[in-house]
Symmetry: C2
Subunit: 234 residues, 2 copies
DNA sequence: GCGCACTACGTACGCTGTACGTAACTAGGA
DNA sequence: TCCTAGTTACGTACAGCGTACGTAGTGCGC
């Protein structure tokens, strides 16, 4: 009964195909693609084992042959989107390369808005994540310093991107046309906030809101945040 | 039927007590405390409506009189821990004050390890969160620049803290004694990682792991990250 | 060709959030 | 003072979740 492992394993240490028994009908890539498609279209909460199985066209429990636990499905999804990173020959200018990496990650997160929510140090060791990390380190070859510092730099850049995109997505959803219920909720939230600020209990917050009514330059915020972090390492 | 609002509201815009009907048996503070207690002891996933109601000693559905949706329970939790922030008279040195704020937030997150997972721009407008934000802005009074930049600074500091503590908690859980199953899972994960790195496909990653086998100085990583971000604004 | 390891999948269990109905209670208006 | 509307309290019920388990059917390695 190797199929139902008593000992928890990492999905990547299991071979995708063992050679015995019928050919698996789906590949891990198929499954990841189905899950990602659902998450992109309907949000991460819509990704259930039943739903993914339905998308693939197989029974719910058949999915458990490929994916022992739901957490492993997330792992597959994270790996799949990690694979969307375009890798290039490092230019020799680590700063420029890291900026390019950061922009690419940002675009990735905008394409898959569920990504920031799933971002966690746990998922950092899938094959495509390792390739991505190796690429970052290659870009940092010209960077003078120990690998420990390079790792910190990569982590910080990823952190900044995650934080910024998290904010960007939140404000985007606040602006976008929403189902009535969510629309109303946002309205209620903003109305409440306005009332609080107007109450005079938070003078600086009030001043901050009064300061500039122009649209927020999210692109600029991201660029500045990134620059500042890289400056900190230079 | 105001009790069952058809229009979604922010919980903070509802008065805790209306005056009509029987006295509520519990305060929002009671409920938040119960939920936080459970989350601290057994993790965020253990926080269910039934469980919190049980902790309070009331029926499950009674809880819905106080908390219309589970999301509002999270909002209560976030507000409660925001209230744990100790506020002080700004020193006049915004850098020192922000470092102090960051350290306090970090300690808060270590006390409540579920906090990074719940951290989201959505929960930034509860009463205690507003007090905290106002306090940060007060600390930044000596900072020369528009409020927009101050807000960015606060967001960046919070982002850094969240990112770092997320890593800290992950490595802590990797070290801590765990239930056998999770222990085995970590072992499997590390074994797999070791095999991959040893395969030679990721030379820089291998070099990074070989570089220093000493224990990671998480405190130092946090300190450096914070310093770099603040440097970026100075 | 035999047997075993694998795929496929239906059923079932315990858990979740929560809609809804009902009974008890209490403060405000007549 | 009593009436009644708005509240609290909570049991029942439902749809959905992750997944343990049992049972067929299939095809590779010996």
């Amino acid at each position: 009964m190797a199929g139902r492992a008593a000992v928890p394993e990492v999905i990547w240490s299991r071979p995708e195909r063992t050679g015995r028994g019928p050919r698996p009908a789906y590949s891990r890539a198929d499954i990841a693609a189905a899950a990602v498609k659902i998450a992109d279209a309907e949000g991460l909460d819509a990704v259930s084992m039943r739903r993914v199985a339905g998308e693939l066209g197989c029974g719910t429990m058949s999915l458990y042959n490929y994916v022992p636990r739901k957490e492993d499905l997330y792992e597959l999804m994270m790996d799949a989107v990690s694979g969307e990173h375009e890798l290039w020959e490092p230019s020799g200018d680590w700063r420029a390369d890291m900026i390019r990496v950061a922009h690419q990650t940002r675009e990735l997160m905008h394409r898959h808005t569920w990504l920031p929510r799933l971002m966690s140090p746990v998922y950092g060791f899938s094959p495509n994540a390792l390739r991505y990390l190796e690429h970052c380190l290659a870009c940092l070859d010209p960077f003078e310093g120990p690998y420990g510092t390079k790792m910190e730099l990569v982590a910080m850049v990823n952190g900044v991107v995650t934080t910024c995109v998290g904010n960007e997505i939140a404000t985007a959803e606040r602006t976008r046309s929403l189902p009535w219920s969510e629309e109303q909720e946002n309205a209620a939230r903003i109305a409440y906030l306005g009332r609080q600020v107007a109450s005079g209990a938070y003078p600086r917050l009030a001043a901050s809101f009064a300061e500039d009514a122009g649209p927020i330059d999210l692109e600029g915020v991201f660029e500045r945040a990134l620059t500042r972090v890289l400056d900190g390492f230079a």
